[in-house]
């Protein structure tokens, strides 16, 4: 399927998430499969409405009604997560799979000091430490993310955006998870701080030997950070390939169009977009969801939905023409 199955730390297999909308069933994630090797950096890119954030929540089984996982499974180190009950899942979250959610820096408890918030996170998982041990552990965590030790005694409003985000990363890694999912961790930060935060994230991930899934829409960021990239469109994973290949020889027309839509710093006047609009998930066109906007669409594309084709070696694409 992707990385050799026995080595995969996380394997998503034909996962589907559906929402019960009064106007009909909405499929936010449709038949998505990929796997993650230990220590690998995997990017999940897509625009709004592509289903990438829902994907991140689905891996952690945090989809709330009216949404539900109605197909497929997620395997952590070979063990299927669907077999676990809520208690089991709770134990896994943060300890084995950690999430840095979108907008987390604005979701820090404004009336609790940072150190206390980190402590709350691991105390919730049954880790009881003495005052001294706790302080030492928090200090070490903060140092890992490049924050001075006194941040533990500060409140979120006293920190800048980049520092808050790094505090959120500290919370996410406090139990040394095997997989870190970061959903748009730098979207509200300027480029300079973004670089610092991503560098911190990368360093932390390497130190822990953890795999990371970076969810976002900035292909430039993906290009500089991830090993492999998955492109999502209308709830489906339309292409997965090593990042170098995606940049130099993308297979799916949408990937090609996305890369072409990036503003270049080399030549002015070359900015181009993708015509049309992303489809509403509850009103998908027949056949391939991308065909109304695809310059290469054929009759087959309009009628038949392309199946995901494995190209071997961790690559796949869902297109009739690839």
């Amino acid at each position: 399927m992707n990385a050799p199955a026995h080595a995969a730390i996380l394997r998503v297999s034909r996962l589907g998430v559906a929402f019960d909308h009064p106007l009909g069933l909405v499929r936010a994630v449709d038949d998505v499969s990929f796997s993650l090797a230990p220590g690998e950096r995997f990017g999940l890119a897509g625009e709004s409405g592509s289903g990438k954030s829902t994907m991140a929540l689905a891996i952690l089984r945090m989809i709330r009604p009216p949404g539900r996982i109605d197909a497929g499974d997620v395997f952590l180190d070979g063990a299927p997560l669907s077999r676990l009950d809520e208690e089991g899942m709770r134990a896994l979250r943060l300890a084995a799979i950690a999430l840095v959610p979108q907008g987390s820096m604005n979701s820090l408890n404004p009336v609790a000091r940072i150190g206390r918030q980190i402590e709350d996170a691991y105390a919730d998982h049954g880790l009881k430490l003495t005052r001294a041990e706790s302080a030492a552990r928090i200090g070490a965590l903060l140092q890992t993310v490049g924050l001075p030790e006194q941040v533990a005694r500060m409140y979120p409003h006293e920190l800048s955006g980049g520092m808050k985000q790094r505090a959120c990363i500290a919370i996410a890694i406090c139990l040394s998870p095997k997989v870190i999912i970061a959903d748009e961790p730098t979207s509200a930060l300027d480029v300079v701080v973004q670089r610092q935060v991503m560098e911190t994230l990368g360093r932390v991930q390497q130190q822990l030997g953890a795999a990371i899934i970076l969810v976002g829409h900035d292909l430039g960021l993906m290009a500089q950070f991830v090993d492999r990239l998955g492109i999502m469109y209308a709830g489906r994973l339309v292409e997965v390939a090593p990042i170098a290949r995606i940049i130099t020889a993308p297979r799916h027309p949408y990937t090609r169009a996305l890369i072409a839509a990036l503003p270049s710093l080399e030549q002015r006047g070359t900015l181009q977009g993708i015509p049309g609009l992303a489809p509403l998930l509850r009103d998908l066109p027949p056949g391939c969801a991308f065909h109304p906007r695809c310059p290469l669409a054929t009759e087959r594309c309009r009628a038949e939905r392309p199946a995901v084709r494995e190209m071997g070696d961790g690559e796949s694409v869902a297109c009739h023409l690839a």
Partner: protein
């Protein structure tokens, strides 16, 4: 609309209760002569029977007629006072919240001071100072004099949040004047909230008026629900075992408040979409 009513049980239930009450009054008007709500109309202290379905009181009033005549009077006091209160409160709130500055400070100051004074006390003093007895409408004005305080504060808070919205700034850039922005941009978005506040205000006004009436400070000649309870007290009806006399007004009062309460809860849900039940 009816689909929504089905999904909002509180609103439906509250509206139903009030509609039932309305039906009672309308139908009742055909069944009984409201003149019998005056004293010395019929035989006194009769328990409920076919002739007098709710019995009669010590002064010779047909209690059925009293309920039919008095319920709308009580409701009228509540509505007039509630509308006046919210009307004045809303105007002051919009002005204070939109223009800020010293206007806001003054309005807010008055409202804050007014809110700390015990309302019932003020009402009693006002009612006592009026020469002679109050009419129903004068009663409404008395209650309204304090009814605007809370709406001013709460509506102001809502307007303050709306004021920062992008569309208000856009309206300024489009050349709209202050009053125009208040009327056309802010007000429409507050209608559900205003409706909920109104029902609340009506509820409080009815309570305040009944409170005053029970103390004997209301319109003595009017057969309102509160005055009926005053006479119940005055004539020691409970000790005398004339249970039908106090049961009827109390049941109606309970229905009125339950109806208004559920209406408020229902309107609250309309005003705050996040409270809506999942489909």
């Amino acid at each position: 609309m009816f689909r929504y009513l089905r999904r909002n049980p509180s609103l439906s239930f509250g509206a139903t209760l009030l509609l039932l009450l309305l039906a009672f009054v309308v139908i009742g008007n055909f069944l009984v002569d409201t003149e019998d709500a005056r004293p010395l109309s019929v035989a006194a202290v009769q328990p409920p029977s076919w002739q007098y379905p709710l019995g009669t009181d010590r002064q010779g009033r047909d209690l059925f007629a009293v309920m039919v005549a008095g319920t709308p009077l009580t409701l009228r006091i509540g509505f007039i006072a509630g509308f006046l209160g919210v009307g004045i409160g809303a105007v002051l709130a919009f002005i204070a919240a939109y223009y800020r500055g010293w206007v806001d400070a003054v309005i807010r100051g008055i409202a804050d001071i007014g809110l700390t004074v015990p309302g019932l006390l003020v009402l009693i003093i006002i009612a006592v100072s009026v020469k002679g007895s109050l009419t129903v409408d004068q009663m409404a004005i008395v209650v309204a004099s304090l009814a605007w305080l809370n709406p001013t504060r709460t509506i102001r808070a809502q307007v303050l949040t709306l004021r920062e919205r992008g569309y208000v700034e856009m309206a300024r850039l489009s050349g709209m004047s202050g009053p125009a922005i208040i009327l056309f941009e802010l007000m429409p978005n507050l209608l559900p909230y205003l409706a909920a506040t109104l029902v609340n205000a009506v509820s409080s006004a009815i309570l305040a008026s009944i409170g005053l009436e029970v103390l004997g400070l209301g319109p003595l000649e009017a057969p309102t629900l509160g005055m009926t309870l005053y006479w119940v007290n005055y004539n020691a009806a409970i000790l005398n075992g004339w249970w039908w006399w106090w049961l009827a007004p109390i049941v109606i009062i309970v229905i009125v408040f339950l109806g208004l309460f559920f209406l408020t809860v229902g309107l609250d849900e309309v005003a705050n979409p996040r409270l809506r039940q999942q489909a």
